[in-house]
Symmetry: C2
Subunit: 358 residues, 2 copies
């Protein structure tokens, strides 16, 4: 059990931006919400699942919608308390803790703001430890855990509760409601016991995110050996340093899709191409896939080591491309079916990061 400090929060924002792998929504907006909630309602406590009653109910809470709308429409807050209350009421049981569904992007922070307001702790776990664009793309789906019952709420008081037969149908139903409710709503799903969180979730995601952000902050301050320390901590590797020479982005089927091409700094013969669907999904070096989903592709500004989101990519930008292995909990049967390259429509095999290890 630890109380989240303002320093933790800043590190978490940086770590969450990195784990957003170019997407996941802007954590800075969520940071404002958390700061405000901590001022209004007091500090937030981060707990391990083992510190809770194993039968206690845990609910996730997140923002769902179109990234472009989420960035423009500052959350009211009531959409998040609303979806948690709707699901708790449907289940006839109050939660003992909240949990992020994804640690990566702004959904890392949303549960903190809601938890402060509801006087609940947040569990140091999640189901992705990166950003993914759909709610069924999580380790809970691999464990056969249902996203349902699930709730969606807006800031006006509209609430929907779903019982879907598969997590894929749950995703489609939630998305259809969100399209009717302003494209930026609260969602609560994957309700489960604290005991099951201990068994099936990715453990320590919040701490990992804070630690990752803390080390990246040291890189940004230019501390000695900070970059090596950062890579070591995440088992990560610098794959490419290059300049953006081509950039194609389009919004189709509710996704921000695109392709970015980099030319190596000092070597115009080496290129890297990265495919985007909200997040950075596959990196090809000279035509060969080198980093593939669910492993993480992160762009850091070459000068100041700031993570770059897909919306702010620009021609001529100089970036370091970092590959981070996904959380080990991902490596179980079925992973590639839901988050591998082919799950996103790419005819590319998954390339385990060990192959490229230093």
């Amino acid at each position: 059990m630890r109380e989240l400090t303002l320093e933790d929060l800043d590190d978490m924002v940086l770590g969450a931006t990195l784990l957003g792998t170019g997407g996941g929504g802007d954590p800075y907006i969520a940071r404002l919400m958390v700061r405000q909630a901590m001022e209004d309602f007091g500090p937030v406590t981060i707990v391990e699942p083992g510190e809770l009653d194993p039968d206690g109910l845990v609910l996730t809470v997140a923002v769902i919608g179109a990234p472009t709308v989420i960035v423009e429409k500052v959350p009211a807050g009531t959409e998040f308390t609303g979806c948690v209350q709707a699901l708790a009421s449907y289940l006839g049981k109050q939660p003992v803790a909240l949990m992020p569904i994804e640690v990566g992007g702004m959904n890392t922070l949303i549960p903190l703001a809601v938890a402060a307001e509801m006087g609940l702790p947040v569990i140091d776990a999640d189901s992705m430890r990166r950003a993914f664009p759909q709610i069924e793309m999580c380790v809970f789906t691999l464990a056969g855990i249902s996203a349902s019952p699930m709730s969606v709420a807006d800031e006006k008081g509209n609430r929907v509760v779903f019982e879907a037969t598969t997590n894929q149908v749950a995703e489609r139903l939630a998305r259809a409601s969100v399209m009717q409710l302003g494209m930026a709503n609260g969602i609560s799903c994957y309700s489960m016991s604290a005991g099951d969180i201990g068994r099936y979730a990715i453990q320590g995601s919040m701490s990992y995110c804070i630690e990752l952000g803390r080390r990246l902050a040291a890189v940004q301050r230019g501390e000695l050996n900070a970059f090596e320390d950062f890579l070591d901590f995440a088992d990560a590797r610098l794959y490419f340093s290059g300049k953006i020479i081509d950039l194609d982005r389009r919004t189709t089927g509710g996704f921000a899709r695109g392709t970015v091409v980099l030319e190596a700094l000092g070597d115009p013969n080496r290129t890297m191409r990265v495919e985007i669907q909200n997040e950075l999904l596959i990196a090809f070096e000279d035509g060969r896939a080198v980093i593939t989903t669910p492993d993480l592709i992160c762009f850091l500004d070459y000068e100041n080591a700031q993570p770059i989101t897909t919306e702010t990519l620009a021609y001529g930008q100089r970036v370091n491309v970092i590959g981070l292995p996904c959380a080990p909990e991902w490596h179980q049967p079925g992973m590639l079916d839901i988050v591998g390259p082919r799950a996103f429509g790419y005819d590319v095999d998954y390339v385990p990061m060990e192959v490229n290890a230093r």
Copy 2:
């Protein structure tokens, strides 16, 4: 209290086709469901609201979706019991009776099949006494009664419960879920007490539908004075006898829209134009609106007096155009805002049927 006979059922099917005003789905499919349910589970009882405990819960049940799909995809039945059970479970209370939301088209009959299976009576009332394409287009909306909580279910076990702040949002949310669940689902909404049904519903709709069908059947058998008796019973009037000389139908925005033009039999200088949005909505005679929603426009085959649905309209068809005044319960403040010509986008004033009365 009366037990529904097979003769009642046949008359009801004919009446429901007429009250569908060209739309409302095919009652013959629903008739098969009712026959089967009566064979499997026993007869169905029609009751007045006053015969029930005034505090007893009443739920509506209906099919919702695209008419073109509803006609093709024969209902499984579990989508209807599923949505009723989902809503009852959400409310934490079991219903004492079911009710049709619309008496007109196949939704007149769906509650009978579900009631037989669930061992419940059906209330002799509804909220439209004709077909309308959207769930907020009913007298309950005029009375300020919420469609929510509301449930949608499919035959696979997917269920959604909605709490919408307005009946318009409820309609949009339900429609969005239906688009994800196969376009032909069960819906239960406007849950209320038997006492409130007595106060706010259109009373005697089922009996009216049976009686109307019985009289139309007599017309079809060519009985003496049957047509005059039919018109008298419904306060209806024959507006036009003509031949279809132009027909334009298209499916846009989820509606079957279209225009049909008739030339008077024996007088090529007189024409009638009828505008369609699933149902027949406005009839113009020589450019002047003569029958307008919510009053009913019904096409009867000129030879055999069979009601003609918009899907079966054909060039050269000879039809009698009948106008029926809507249920008197419709005439209250707000009617035109939700079901008048302008609610459907026509820049036309409502023409009360009294103006044209014999």
